[in-house]
Subunit: 366 residues, 2 copies
DNA sequence: TCGCTCCACTAATACGTATAAGTAATGCGC
DNA sequence: GCGCATTACTTATACGTATTAGTGGAGCGA
């Protein structure tokens, strides 16, 4: 057989590109093994599906591939197969998570672990890059199509773009409840049940009047907690109503020791704070109680719908629940993998674990 | 013209894939605009290069593209053109930088800013994923080929793989000096000059005996500083030799107040600590001086070859230099962009800025 | 020995884009 | 009115892999 003319100095435009040896492709492996490129693909993709490849040939191909150091081109794989075993993770914070490190990182741990377990590699995209040529517009988001599917983190994910990807059939999973977007898959923590359970716990300790302290934010995570809180009150036969929820844009300013004493005078014996990025609600009740000279499990009970902010991590463990961030990340990957495989998504809610903690007890005798 | 049979329900293997509308490609845009696919590509890639496309046609194509919401497929772009305006960033720490957050993040800020300015988007790869199917081997690194080129961060970058990519002509830049690998491009801080300058400063203040405290690590960043330190001594006509460098695996244990007093008794008036991930060298001298009851600019001078660790950021500003991390990140991107464009790399060293600080002064009178 | 099924492959084609090469149509000098 | 650019495109092909649809035997029953 005559040596093929190897007609491919086409890329030889730029000086550097000229010399590109370029690594071997399947065609080279095939030549070395004396088979066709298709056979190489079949052997390497290891589709046991009616393989119909003799062991001897298979071995020859594998040896050839190894000796040439063949590695597949992920771009070509994606193009040809719509699959390259890469999962994208899109975070809308600039570059790497830093401020939000404490809230995002645990998710990513779960994401990575589960992805690895399922044989996927991760590719991370970031949402900034606004200013460049390829940036800003729809194109910025578009690069996630390099992967088989993509996970989205963060609150500021543009609906329009997501909708578009969903419509295109590109597998997408949002980490966090996101129901307003028809057809979008998501996984989230079951804040409703968990919050409700915290209230049940308080009620079982004998508390009759409980107040929820929350920030002025309408994120699903906040409204879910409030809903669960109110449901818990109702289930325990306690009074709900507007008085049961204290909403403030700046709890640190509004939840004063005075305000606390007033509540207590009104018969409130337990306070429940939501967890947010800032941890302000919890910090505020915590500080107000200390400042008012009230001891925690004795004079009043406190519960936290989530985990304390880092600066309060050293204090007594709050009664409440733990958001299973690792599991959430893992669940998101599982769901994404299902979508990529063409299966339908399953249960999106992950349960939070109740944390007894040390900040609740029976209400004081009056 | 008869409607093309649209022969592409090939992907319809998996249930989900069956319904993939898939977004429009250039072919669709072309049909709508009444031109060929090639024309669409020419218009959209906007190669002013002898474009030879009438304004009217151009506009028709652009309108068609917009109305269909066309966005290019990055995988296809890379495959066809070896360019997709994506730059990869490979970090060898698991998922997102966390421990190393303080040392890596500033680099990334510069990287991202410069990339955006040059019209590149970033794709981030992480080095873990060990355990999955597509992981571990050469293939894990291989996915960076989705991008036009890749930046590598971290000390544990496998040489073999890097060598391979360099040999293949894949544009690669290592962030940090890396000379042992022939042909590998890198950018790094000029620790040698900067360290030398710190010594010159001390010498000009009158110090005659200066000791460098360093950790037991042979990273280029460490050896560079030592080299600059020694060069600085020599330039100032001061004694170098083994006594001038104190090397310890655990400075916190070995640099005691006693040891410090001994040095001073021997005539040493200034100490220079290297900066490392841990900041241990600086923390050790700092603590030892305080414990020995020595006041800093008065009884002895201290200098730091870099920035203090976060926990000491509040103390008096150390004399020394600032590693221009943003600029390093930006320089790395510039170099990578050059390589991608087929140009040759330019100056890899970035100067560090001398920081006068408040921890050095004239040596005490004896 | 014909027809049939397996077996072990190969040929052909598709994925979506970029680009070199080619081709009408027009303009222009002479 | 001919050659020759130039303009404005189109055609054809390549990128590297996956996959479907063959294809040429071998084996086997009748």
């Amino acid at each position: 057989m005559v040596e093929q003319p190897s007609k491919r100095p086409r890329r030889g435009r730029t000086p550097a590109a000229t010399g590109r040896t370029s690594r071997p492709r399947q065609a080279e492996v095939a030549r070395l093994a004396g088979v066709s490129q298709a056979t190489v693909s079949l052997v390497l993709s290891d589709k046991a599906q009616g393989s119909a490849i003799s062991d001897e040939t298979r071995q020859r191909v594998l040896d050839a591939a190894r000796s040439l150091g063949y590695v597949p081109d992920p771009a070509a794989q994606r193009l040809a197969a719509v699959r390259n075993n890469l999962l994208g993770v899109y975070s809308f914070t600039a570059t790497f998570p830093t401020d939000v490190e404490h809230s995002y990182y645990p998710f990513l741990v779960g994401v990575e672990r589960e992805a690895a377990a399922r044989g996927y590699d991760l590719v991370l995209f970031t949402g900034s890059s606004s200013g460049g040529a390829g940036a800003a517009g729809p194109e910025a988001l578009n690069r996630v199509r390099l992967a088989d599917g993509c996970l989205f983190l963060g609150r500021h994910v543009p609906s329009a773009e997501l909708k578009r990807m969903v419509a295109d059939g590109f597998p997408v999973v949002h980490l966090g409840r996101r129901e307003e977007l028809e057809g979008l898959s998501w996984v989230g923590a079951d804040y409703v049940s968990a919050s409700s359970e915290v209230v049940r716990h308080l009620a079982s300790l004998g508390h009759r009047r409980i107040v929820l302290i929350r920030e002025d934010d309408d994120a699903p995570a906040s409204t879910d907690r409030q809903q669960g809180f109110l449901a818990g009150l109702e289930a325990a036969g306690l009074a709900g109503g507007p008085d049961a929820v204290f909403r403030s844009a700046d709890p640190g300013r509004d939840v004063t020791p005075d305000r606390l004493r007033r509540w207590i005078a009104e018969g409130v014996t337990a306070f429940v704070a939501e967890e947010t990025d800032t941890g302000n609600a919890w910090r505020a009740v915590h500080a107000a109680a200390a400042e008012a000279g009230l001891t925690c499990p004795g004079d009043l009970s406190l519960a936290l719908l989530g985990s304390p902010p880092p600066d309060l991590a050293g204090a007594a463990e709050p009664t409440g629940f733990d958001v299973p961030r690792h599991q959430l990340g893992a669940a998101a990957v599982r769901m994404l993998a299902s979508l990529v495989a063409g299966e339908t998504a399953d249960e999106p809610l992950v349960a939070c674990a109740f944390r007894p903690g040390a900040t609740t007890g029976s209400p004081p005798e009056r």
